[in-house]
Subunit: 346 residues, 2 copies
């Protein structure tokens, strides 16, 4: 089969990989229809994080081609979306709802597991991992939003859930990448009364507003802190959602969080210091991490299928597997928020 | 009136202070019957934290002597317990349940506010701050446990609530001071199935076991981490309660916390680094801070009065106001877990 191959920093190529086969009775083979590039893929693309050479990509959806004999609930021909981590659904951590920390789980597109940016994927623990997409004849628009459930929408949702967003909350979203934009959607969906998006980019500001942001703050650093505090009568927000992962973004999240609130943080951390003084003396908690997407998809999928949320709008660059290198370059050069990759004919 | 006076590091003296008077219509004057010394009092006693010279102590109970004309729910003659911070009960933060962060609140025994270690205290926002203790003729044992609600019991409870202890949880308590011991009580009260107390001191181990600890780990540092992980099949605990505030204790709390759990932290931090990698890549949250004692006392007081919990057992040194300096020295020299101070005749 054809698949995107990581050949070192800056080198993403279309290559050949063995067609995946069932290795364990709990495996399924999924023929990929749509995949995408994650902001976190840029870390190894840029040489800033380690990654095995070989197949890549952890966000995909497709059609089940074959299932192992112990797979339940999923059958050949089913349209499915895959969360970006696979999980057995039965370990104590999965049972606690944190499927992203499954004791026997892992991520796609690294450490010998097929990547989503290829024509087919062997999915471990397929019955517990894959989520069947009901119905048929879905529009391209709907399918793009289903694809967003594989990671970004669930990650934005995890920020909002971790930050304890509820009906009537005032929320601030730090970060206007695809995850931050999905956090706006999630906050709106959870009933937030006011959503302040921190963004300097006009196109992303417009997307945030379209998703439900009520206020835009275009300042950065301490000026951003001051602007949010001014918008909230000096109190800060009920939920600050940290969707970047830098020291500055974390500092902003804590600075604009109301005393007694919880920062919901999902950005992969780089040079981040948690202000423990604020945790203790201002009672500001910190929660988040790798989204347990598998636990969230069943809640979010009906809203996507009914058109109540449309996270697929974060995809602003469309290409096919042949042009996978362009999909990365567009995001690396900030020409795209997020790149969608079509697999073409099976 | 007579009151304990801080005259600089190591210098606690019995002195004279003006009798407190009603200054605002929401004030009350409380004649103190029992007070105590907090572990946090030792920071300024030892010269390690700043503190105004003058009155001290933030934990007390007593009898209401006089109320301002706008005080509701509290009347002269009432037996009351004071949370260690006063709060107006009406600001947005109080309404969110975080009375310790009241926009108009503060602590007793510093910044011009009477200390609890004295014969009388002017209590701001008395109707919102003080909690009436129903009944009469309470035993000394019961009153000691009521006094513990002013801080340590509510602080231990805050660690347990912040760590999301629930029925069936496996809990570890890092720290065997009065707060850690109260965290054991709180975990047991919330239904924890297993409570691992980290303590090297035989007397404190015995208290912890009496309060409901099912396992004692006497190691420290990485050996303690390994011991707790071995007790929990390598998974870690559902709730790690950090009741010390040092870098080592926080590191231990994160090392023994189960992926996807939340560290409940109430120790005043000194040289603490929060491992952000664990927050993000192991989904371990961090919450806690200054206990909103006023919000918790109404829940805990009935259990104290019914004898279902007995946090007063943490007091292992009894003295009177005359010997207030001894009360500090006993704790400073680690001869006492916590010192109780009787006020004697009004």
């Amino acid at each position: 089969m054809r698949a995107a191959i990581f050949n070192g920093p800056g080198r993403i190529d279309l290559g050949e990989r063995p067609d995946p086969v069932i290795q364990s009775p709990t495996d399924a083979i999924v023929r990929v229809t749509l995949a995408c590039v994650c902001g976190s893929d840029l870390w190894y693309y840029r040489g800033l994080s380690p990654h095995d050479l070989g197949p890549i990509g952890h966000e995909f959806m497709g059609v089940v081609e074959e299932v192992g004999r112990e797979v339940r609930g999923i059958a050949a021909g089913d349209l499915v979306v895959a969360p970006f981590t696979y999980s057995d659904g039965t370990c104590p951590i999965c049972r606690a709802g944190v499927t992203s920390q499954c004791l026997h789980g892992g991520g796609f597109g690294n450490h010998g597991i097929d990547g989503g940016q290829g024509e087919a994927v062997r999915v471990p623990f397929a019955g517990a991992t894959l989520v069947k997409v009901p119905g048929s004849g879905h529009s391209d628009e709907t399918l793009r939003s289903v694809l967003a459930l594989s990671d970004v929408m669930c990650t934005g949702h995890h920020a909002a859930v971790s930050g304890d967003v509820r009906a009537g909350s005032t929320v601030a979203v730090v970060g206007d990448g695809a995850v931050g934009l999905c956090a706006v959607i999630a906050a709106k969906r959870l009933g937030a009364a006011r959503i302040i998006a921190l963004s300097r980019n006009p196109a992303r500001q417009a997307l945030a507003s379209g998703f439900g942001a009520t206020d835009i703050v275009s300042e950065r650093g301490e000026a951003a802190d001051a602007a949010v505090l001014e918008l909230t009568d000096g109190l800060g927000v009920d939920a600050a959602l940290e969707c970047v992962g830098t020291g500055e973004s974390m500092a902003t999240a804590f600075a604009i969080a109301r005393a007694g609130s919880t920062v919901g943080a999902v950005g992969a951390p780089h040079d981040v210091r948690v202000p423990i003084e604020s945790v203790i003396f201002r009672n500001i908690g910190l929660r988040g991490g790798v989204s347990p997407a598998r636990a969230y998809i069943p809640d979010l999928l009906p809203d996507v299928l009914a058109g109540r949320i449309d996270p697929g709008r974060v995809f602003d660059y469309d290409t096919d597997l042949e042009h996978i290198a362009d999909a990365y370059a567009a995001m690396d050069e900030r020409r795209a928020v997020k790149s969608l990759v079509r697999m073409g004919a099976a």
